[in-house]
């Protein structure tokens, strides 16, 4: 134990920038939550039941996230050195399972941190107070800790078996599905019809769903959530049952960990072996970015037979993508961010008057672009820098670089179409075909720009570490987003009186101008930075 802590301490000491960022992050969350009450703007007057309902849904999310995160334990999150200093050393398997926990726990902390630093939105929206948010964090801690321990047990105990994990995930999906269906049925019952439910504001439907018995009965999250509900409502009768249920869960955890036979070493060694290869490759100067652990590819009847010179890179990347998945153009991370964007869109829509759909479109578009600054941050092109071929093939750097980036185009176009359809869903009347087409092109152009800036940042800033590099990339892309809006705005203002006579035409001109501006910026960046990519 002391040896492990010593190793941990040395690691912390050697990463001063990461430590400073962590401290700044923690303080920013604490200060944000502590200062919530000093914010005076409140769009919807605070109502106790609204707060409790929405908090219940947030706790449900925490439960789901902790549940899924626990599956990383025991199979991922080990350093290659752990094979020697932990697995082969005289430590119990349970202790070595705990060694992988920082990976998942860190992810949970970041999740709660994100909610905390964004809590002013909850304050502005429905009047969340410092006490509400503090209660939420405490309850989230209780929910996430026990849930994480339970699924970590499944992961460590059945590392090489798929079925127990499938059963657990199906159970999770089922619990969520039952809750969602029950909430919809109850909402229809309450308001009379589905149409009537749709006409209600988001706050009403969410808070109603969060205060249903089905929400309170939701495993772990619902039970723990009853404590703050009881405190605010002044009903303490259910407390002993909740405390007994929660204590029983921890007793179960202790029994499982004491009696369980853990057999995760082989799976962990296999996964870590891959990471070790990447570390070794990095030492040799061929830094690989892709861990490739989750990727599945099978050789079929497909034949690679296209491309000549630089275009061989384009066709090879497309070929590799197709082999990995026929649906390779669906970026799962982007889809998760789209869910978040949809929530922002719905909230904006619920706050705006009916005749201001154009503002919803602009807010939606900007949110999608801001999130894409995170999603499209390099792609597969970055992986080329880990191999000699990109640098060795006797073709102009600019054409090789462009060909590699363009291979990500199907992914970008699909994402642009999804973004456009989501905005259409919320702003149905004003968002007609012309601005929709313009948005698909504009989002694709912006994704190309983000991807290229991401690649440049990897090339120039990777020596400073992952977080400074990501931070710089994000700031740069946001700056380009804003800079691009200036000429687009000027041209749109100049042209609109002559070429546009309806709102949808004005929108199309504005979005189209943005598309052209971002494409020009993309070309300039590719041309200006090409010399960076002549050496690895």
């Amino acid at each position: 134990m002391r040896a492990y802590l010593y190793r941990l301490l040395i690691t912390v000491k050697r990463r001063p920038i990461a430590d400073i960022l962590a401290v700044v992050g923690i303080f920013s969350a604490i200060i944000t939550v502590a200062k919530l009450d000093s914010i005076t703007i409140n769009l919807i007057p605070r109502e106790q039941e609204t707060i409790l309902g929405i908090m219940s849904l947030m706790l449900l999310l925490c439960f789901d996230y902790a549940f899924v995160t626990g599956f990383r334990s025991g199979v991922l999150g080990y350093h290659p050195a752990d094979m020697t200093f932990q697995f082969a050393a005289p430590f119990t398997r349970v202790f070595n399972l705990f060694v992988s926990f920082p990976y998942g726990v860190g992810s949970l902390v970041v999740f709660v941190w994100l909610l905390c630093v964004n809590s002013p939105i909850l304050k502005w929206w429905i009047g969340f107070t410092t006490a509400d948010m503090t209660a939420f964090v405490i309850e989230a801690f209780f929910i996430m800790s026990v849930t994480f321990m339970l699924t970590s047990f499944i992961s460590g105990r059945f590392a090489d078996k798929i079925m127990p994990k499938v059963i657990a995930v199906v159970a999770l999906l089922l619990a969520n599905a039952v809750f969602i269906v029950a909430a919809i049925v109850k909402l229809i019952g309450r308001f009379g019809s589905f149409e009537a439910v749709r006409e209600q504001s988001l706050v009403v439907t969410l808070s109603y769903a969060g205060n249903l018995l089905w929400s309170d009965a939701f495993p772990v999250a619902g039970w723990v959530g009853l404590i703050y509900k009881g405190i605010l409502r002044g009903t303490y009768t259910g407390f002993p049952v909740v405390i007994a249920l929660y204590a029983a869960l921890w007793v179960l955890v202790v029994i499982l960990y004491r009696r369980g036979k853990f057999d995760f070493y082989e799976t962990a060694v296999l996964n870590t072996g891959r990471i070790l290869e990447i570390v070794e490759a990095s030492k040799a100067g061929v830094e690989a970015v892709n861990t490739g652990i989750s990727r599945t590819a099978v050789v079929g009847k497909e034949i690679y037979k296209r491309g000549w010179g630089s275009s061989a890179f384009f066709h090879m990347h497309l070929f590799e993508n197709l082999r990995t998945s026929k649906l390779f153009f669906i970026n799962k991370v982007a889809l998760i961010y789209r869910v978040f964007a949809l929530i922002v869109l719905l909230i904006t829509d619920s706050l705006m008057p009916e005749d201001l759909d154009v503002l919803v479109i602009i807010v939606g578009m900007t949110t999608m672009m801001v999130l894409n600054a995170i999603v499209f941050g390099g792609g597969k092109t970055v992986m080329e820098f880990g191999r000699p071929y990109f640098f060795m093939v006797p073709e102009k750097t600019i054409s090789k670089l462009a060909m590699c980036i363009l291979a990500d185009l199907p992914e970008m176009v699909f994402d642009a179409v999804v973004c456009t359809l989501l905005i259409k869903l919320v702003a149905w009347n004003d968002f007609t075909l012309l601005p929709m087409l313009a948005l698909v092109i504009m989002m694709t152009a912006f994704d190309l720009l983000s991807q290229t800036v991401g690649i440049v940042c990897v090339k120039v800033l990777r020596q400073f570490g992952k977080f400074p590099m990501m931070f710089a990339r994000y700031v740069l892309i946001l700056a380009l987003l804003i800079i691009g809006m200036v000429p687009a705005d000027l041209v749109t203002n100049g042209l609109t009186p002559y070429i546009a006579d309806s709102l949808s035409q004005v929108l199309a001109v504005m979005i189209g101008m943005l598309a052209i501006t971002y494409l020009i910026m993309w070309g300039i960046i590719i041309a200006a930075t090409r010399r960076l990519f002549t050496e690895s």
Partner: protein, 232 residues
């Protein structure tokens, strides 16, 4: 011909290569011999045009960063870096297309030569390290380069592959190609080298030519240990 003239490479304050100069002529096998950390891989990567440096490196008279030099150069990295989901055959096809090699048959000849024909449907991630190294060598030889550089090529190869690789070195030399190999395994190079540069702390500490019919007073091994350990 490979010419390295006054090349210095620094990583911040650490000098990995300190004013290196040497030449390997056509039809010669040159060896960079030295302990770990001597700077062998750094100069190899600089020759491959992968690193920034001061000084000049020329491949058949062309600057190593130029497209002409890249057309004439084949590079086998220390750690094979293949594409996870491309098969052996597809790797060679990709390189053939990227280098614009018209002759399709060269692919099969290389696969046959390195006994990879039965593995040609295997993906990069399914291959052992030795197999990956063989694919890496095939990729480097695909476009018939006039200068070939190998970075620790024997590591991970089985005895048969090592024997085959030594034959490749001999064939390349007989075909008038320039070959440069970096290694720290003295016993693997005894029989085919023309010139050895022993590296130590980023510098060339000694150069020894293999002239047939002459007998030096010191063997390569004795010279190496004299330099690296300060004793024979």
């Amino acid at each position: 011909m490979l010419t390295v003239n006054g090349v210095t490479k620094k990583y911040k304050k650490f000098v990995a290569n300190d004013n290196l100069s040497f030449t390997i002529n056509d039809g010669e096998v040159g060896i960079l011999l030295g302990p770990n950390g001597a700077g062998k891989s750094t100069i190899i990567k600089s020759i491959a045009g992968l690193l920034k440096y001061t000084g000049t490196i020329e491949i058949d008279g062309f600057d190593t960063h130029s497209l002409e030099a890249k057309r004439k150069l084949g590079y086998i990295p220390e750690i094979p870096a293949l594409y996870d989901t491309l098969t052996v055959d597809e790797h060679l096809e990709f390189i053939r297309r990227a280098y614009k090699v018209e002759d399709v048959s060269v692919k099969d000849r290389l696969l046959d030569r390195f006994e990879l024909t039965d593995k040609k449907k295997k993906m990069g991630k399914e291959l052992s390290k030795g197999m990956q190294q063989k694919v890496s060598i095939c990729c480097a030889l695909m476009h018939d380069p006039s200068v070939v550089i190998f970075d620790e090529p024997m590591v991970g190869l089985d005895p048969h592959a090592i024997k085959e690789l030594k034959n490749v070195f001999q064939e390349l030399r007989d075909a008038g190609k320039t070959v440069l190999i970096s290694t720290h395994m003295i016993d693997t190079i005894e029989d085919y080298w023309d010139v050895v540069h022993i590296m130590m702390n980023g510098k060339i500490a000694a150069t020894k030519h293999n002239v047939p019919g002459t007998s030096d007073d010191k063997s390569l091994e004795e010279l190496f240990f004299e330099i690296t350990e300060g004793k024979a």
